[in-house]
Amino acid sequence: MFNLVLRGLATGSIYSLTAVGIVLILSTTNVMNFAQGDTGMFLTYIAFFFILRGIAPSLTLPIVIVAGAVLGYLVYKGLISKAKKSSHLGMMIITLGLTMIFEGIVATFFGNIPLLFPPLIPGDPVHFGSVILDRQDILCLVTALVVFGILSFILYRTKIGIAARSIADDEYASRVLGIPINRIHSFIWAISFGLAGLAGIMTAPRLSLQPLFMVVVQLKAFTAAVLGGMNSVTGAIWGGLILGVMENLVAYYVPAIKESFSLLLIVAILLFLPNGLFGSREAGRS
């Protein structure tokens, strides 16, 4: 049981990483980013490219974060900021266009065949008394913990982070104060895409690397985000962890519904708990 929970937390931390990216972008730039998962997929292939050239797997961690940040900045500057006049749904469809581009590029260079992505830290599972954990799981948990620590420092202790939260609160007021909205938006896109990359290389060793491997993770991340109220970073983190644990327990005790569980959860929460478990204010379902 304890083992199930811990492993659930490890899986959940990947959901959280992805969900946080989605929520950051949604709450500051009002774009529902359906490319969060595929961005991670794309960056993981970049990491794989480096591994093929002899770079140690663990070194790809900083590579995907930096590459993700650059990609996020470019996507915001080159595309999203130019599309401000489109409707919210139009912006969402633009991100779907991005997924097609990412998937197409990857399929062209690597094909659709599943590839084996090496674990970032090799070695046998670690025993803590009766609890057995994969090194990869431990890495997920630690990474997520560090990332969330840094993130909450940025959002609550730095000027740019507080400004980002102010945009989520009231963009007009931020503009009136002369806060450079565009610069903060691109900062948020950079962070979110960095998170996407992290989530990607945390997931790849557990599944295999192929163009669609992050689609399911993204779906779970949406569930986590919805669970957390869709506008709260803290909510998204908890949402992901709770979902990971619940999923593991359901898979163990009620295996018949394990695949569809989170899918039905998402719909049920959207319908009956529109603010999620942690949403602080009206999430505005429109």
Binding site: G90, L212, V215, S262, L263
Partner: protein
């Protein structure tokens, strides 16, 4: 009079197409696939472009239609005409069920919910032994009407073309009817539509039902045409494809989905097998460009070019 000539010519051209490709059934097979896509895309266009409701689970309804029609024929020997319609109807029934969340959810949240429900459908099919679970369903028989098997690509072509034209004819009439007006009113402003006494709930659900019905029929055609079915064929990816097809072709236009489907199926073949995946990149770019610059899709572009020519002619005379 002049107005009637063009569609007539196009129809004759359409009827002659198989003769042109007489030597290459594989090409006609692609055209057939485009037609199947078009029927489904017309359905999504009705929902998205006319009634203004987003769905990221459209492919799931195709799956429901495809499996229903196939299983009715294989297991119970039910005639194709009935089984295909039944596939459409069952998909429509599921559309009814999915239409209800749409009453409470809008925009992003409807997108997420339909994505989840669509994925749930394929997950459930994977667990159903009777449907072949995740091995898929093979040996799906071709459509058979009064003993005639539509198994050659050419025979399928005429049958599918007839279904597509019938679909477009019916949808065109629907658009001109009170229902079509209600859909458009709902899309443009729900508040205004309510003020005019339009029953929003009814029409929202109806839009989901009709669009799912068409997806179901298309799914049935798909299964009978390919002779096999697998749950993964109807996943999130295909739903996105249909969204892209509809938007690229021209959202809210009558022929846009047909144009979009034709491009979607045919353009990747032009890239050759090695670079086929690059077509996805191209479509992604086009999709983004359309969202940014062409709200009515490529059919708007064609109409603009048409107008340009007409103007020039007018200036010359």
């Amino acid at each position: 009079m002049k107005k009637k000539i063009l569609p007539f010519l196009l129809l004759i051209l359409a009827l002659l197409i198989p003769l042109v490709f007489n030597a290459r059934p594989s090409i006609v097979a692609y055209i057939n696939l485009a037609i199947i896509y078009a029927v489904s895309a017309v359905g999504l266009n009705l929902l998205l472009g006319v009634a203004g409701q987003i769905s990221l689970g459209h492919a799931a309804f195709m799956g429901i239609g495809g499996y229903t029609s196939a299983i009715l024929m294989i297991r119970y020997g039910i005639p194709s005409i009935v089984s295909v319609l039944a596939g459409g109807l069952l998909a429509g029934l599921f559309g009814l069920i999915i239409g209800f969340p749409a009453l409470r959810l809008k925009g992003f949240y409807l997108a997420i919910a339909t994505m989840a429900l669509g994925t749930a459908v394929t997950d459930v099919i994977k667990r159903m032994e009777i449907l072949g679970a995740d091995r898929g369903l093979t040996n799906v028989p071709p459509v058979t009407i009064f003993g005639y098997q539509f198994s050659s690509e050419f025979a399928k072509y005429y049958l599918y073309l007839a279904i597509l034209l019938l679909t477009i004819f019916l949808v065109n009439n629907l658009l001109k009817s009170k229902t079509g007006m209600a859909f458009r009113a709902m899309r443009d402003s729900e508040v205004a539509a309510k003020v005019f006494g339009i029953n929003i709930s009814y029409y929202k659900v109806l839009a989901f039902v009709i669009s799912s019905f068409l997806a179901g029929v298309a799914g049935a055609m798909y299964g009978h045409s390919l002779s096999y079915l697998h749950p993964d064929m109807f996943g999130f990816g295909l739903s996105i494809e249909f969204l892209a097809i509809t938007i690229i072709g021209g959202i809210g236009t009558l022929w846009g989905p047909v144009l979009g489907s034709a491009l979607w199926v045919i353009v990747p073949r032009l890239f050759g097998t090695k670079l086929e995946a690059m077509a996805g990149v191209l479509f992604g770019v086009v999709l983004i460009l359309v969202v940014l610059f062409l709200p009515r899709g490529l059919s708007e572009l064609i109409m603009r070019i048409n107008k340009l020519f007409k103007k020039e002619e007018g200036e010359r005379s």
